[in-house]
């Protein structure tokens, strides 16, 4: 479904991704772990089409289509979703109105009419219940004054609304207490199907107890230095990342 070949990306002429290879098939869950600054968020941004990063080499394919020159909004329409590590505050635009715009823009791109108001309300109700989000919350300005946990939960609510093919969750677990983590993880699990895929970016094993990955990759200094099954996450939890330094030094 998502195929990344020898991906290199720069910001301000500094190379951050240094040759990433990753293939994610429909129905799979991949976890990407690694120390701070290793390039995890950059990889997520580049997949979602952030133009602040320059792809200097390699390619990203979604269902066989090369995403080069595809704008972030078009990628979203094609089914890419990124849950941000740091969601942005948009004062004056409610969560509901924001989602209406996002959904209808996506439909417009597919040549569909706006979603009827009744269906929209139903969808919002359904998905907000899934994530145990209060109705009042939906009329608040997007992310404005939200706690860290509320922001993350709201990201997953947006994912639920948009039903992406490939969802990348960038440190969605940080800032969540254990109850919120459970709600968010169970939401993600319910949204999982054989037709979509999830990439979890995380520091901690904790999230992976709830959303069990098929593969775990370790990103270090812009490269995937190790891949394995879910047991790799446990190993990392025990060993930390210090071994990386030695290994890469060798």
């Amino acid at each position: 479904m998502l195929k990344i070949n020898d991906l290199h990306a720069n910001v301000d002429d500094k190379e951050i991704l240094k040759g990433i290879n990753l293939e994610v098939k429909a129905g799979e869950v991949h976890a990407i772990m690694g120390p701070n600054g290793s390039g995890k968020s950059t990889l997520a941004s580049v997949i979602a089409g952030n133009e602040n990063f320059e792809v200097t080499q390699g390619s990203i394919e979604l269902s066989g289509e090369d995403l080069e020159d595809v704008s972030p909004e078009e990628r979203a329409h094609k089914g890419v979703f990124l849950s941000f590590q740091y969601p942005v505050e948009i004062p004056g635009v409610s969560v509901t109105n924001f989602m209406k715009t996002a959904i209808n823009e996506s439909r417009k791109a597919k040549g569909l009419e706006d979603m009827p108001a009744k269906d929209m309300l139903k969808l919002i109700r359904e998905k907000s219940e899934l994530l145990e989000i209060d109705r009042k919350f939906l009329s608040r300005s997007l992310n404005e004054g939200f706690s860290g946990g509320e922001k993350k939960r709201n990201e997953i609510f947006q994912m639920a609304m948009l039903e992406p093919k490939v969802a990348i969750l960038d440190e969605t677990d940080s800032g969540l207490d254990i109850d919120a983590l459970r709600i968010v993880a169970s939401g993600v699990n319910k949204l999982k199907s054989k037709d979509n895929a999830v990439i979890l970016i995380t520091h901690y094993q904790r999230l992976l107890e709830y959303i069990v990955p098929d593969y775990v990759h370790v990103l270090h200094n812009g490269k995937i230095v190790k891949s394995g099954g879910k047991e790799l996450a446990l190993e990392l939890e025990e060993k930390g990342y210090d071994w990386l330094k030695q290994e890469t030094a060798v």
Partner: protein, 438 residues
Amino acid sequence: MDLKDKLISSFMAFENNVDVEHPVHDVRMAAIKNFEEKGFPSKKEEAWKYTSLNNIQKIDFSIFPKEENALEYKDVKRYFIHEIDTYKIVFVDGIYSSYLSETTHDGVDICLMSAALTKPMYKPVIDVYFNKVASKDESLTSLNTAFSREGAYIYIPKNKMPKKPIEILHFSTGNEASLLLQPRNLIVVEENAEVQIIERHQSLTSNEVLTNAVTEIFAAKSAIVDFYKIQNDAPTASLIDNTYIDQKDKSLVKVHTFSFGGKLTRNNLNFYQNGEYIDSTMKGVTILGEKQHVDHHTLVHHIEPNCESHQDYKGIYGDASTGVFNGKIIVDKIAQKTNAFQQNNNILISDKASINTKPQLEIFADDVKCSHGCTIGQLDEDALFYLQSRGIPQKEARALLMYAFANNVLSSVRIPELKIRINKLIAEKLGVNLGFDL
């Protein structure tokens, strides 16, 4: 003949049509003299450094419209906040339109300046308030004072509040090739009284219009005044708005200025705090494109202790538009415990657009809290990416961010239908349809 000479010579013709025995006429005569001495301000003056009236003075304006032009309500309905019931004081080419207006004398006076300046029953109010807070020194204010005859007159007695908001609308129909309008408004809000006013100038054709307006507002003890200025005029319409506000103890006056259009707009907004525990608020959203120009000059004079002032102006400048924000705050020596806040944030969305922003603080008291901040920036790229990553196209995403940027100013609009209207104007101005009412 240049515009100044033309104005001075037409003052004599004007005198044939007003009561020269009325004491107000002495005020007019002093004013024309001041204008004659000073003339139009030039760019050499610090306060007019960035706004030139040279081109305007080359236009051969008609000073007195020759004939009346009736408008059908259905043709101008969209300029009213027609979703709600309002009092309306409407002028067409400077002449009162009773047909489009809805005035009242039921407990409050919402009517015409021409009546207030001539009928004996209003004389006590005119004697106390007329031209008492407006500058006698500033030449364009004097020009308006000299020709003061028509405008809105609003008198709210003690403890009263009109049943609904008041709209003051000035239409110009293009009957004349170019028209000069000089409305003069007087608004007196007595102790513990309250009023909400919406003002709009609207040119209906592409003929030139220049409006040189003066509004005097008196807010007595504990009075509350909300004044909303909607400036979204045609590209051939210019406005010089001179608003003077006198506040007494514990009064609360808020002026919101929404500048979305017009050729040249100059807002001179002056607050004088003549009492304690006063709150003065000035907020503005400016969204310009093409070659539009808006110049906001604000003044807050803190004369007594324990008062506050809040200024928050947001500007978004595109194309080759230009903006000015000059916020002057004076805190007199005895005005201790003053809190004065001023904020002016701008986004330039085109290389050719520009903004000059300058705080001007003159603080003579020592125990004051005063903060000011000016910023000029671009749209936040990370925020833009966030919205785009949700499938919102770049144009709409930019519009949402601009809306969010201006939102702080909108949150204090107390008339919901007006807020919806402003939101629509913003969406229109930004050229987007977001599928919901902002």
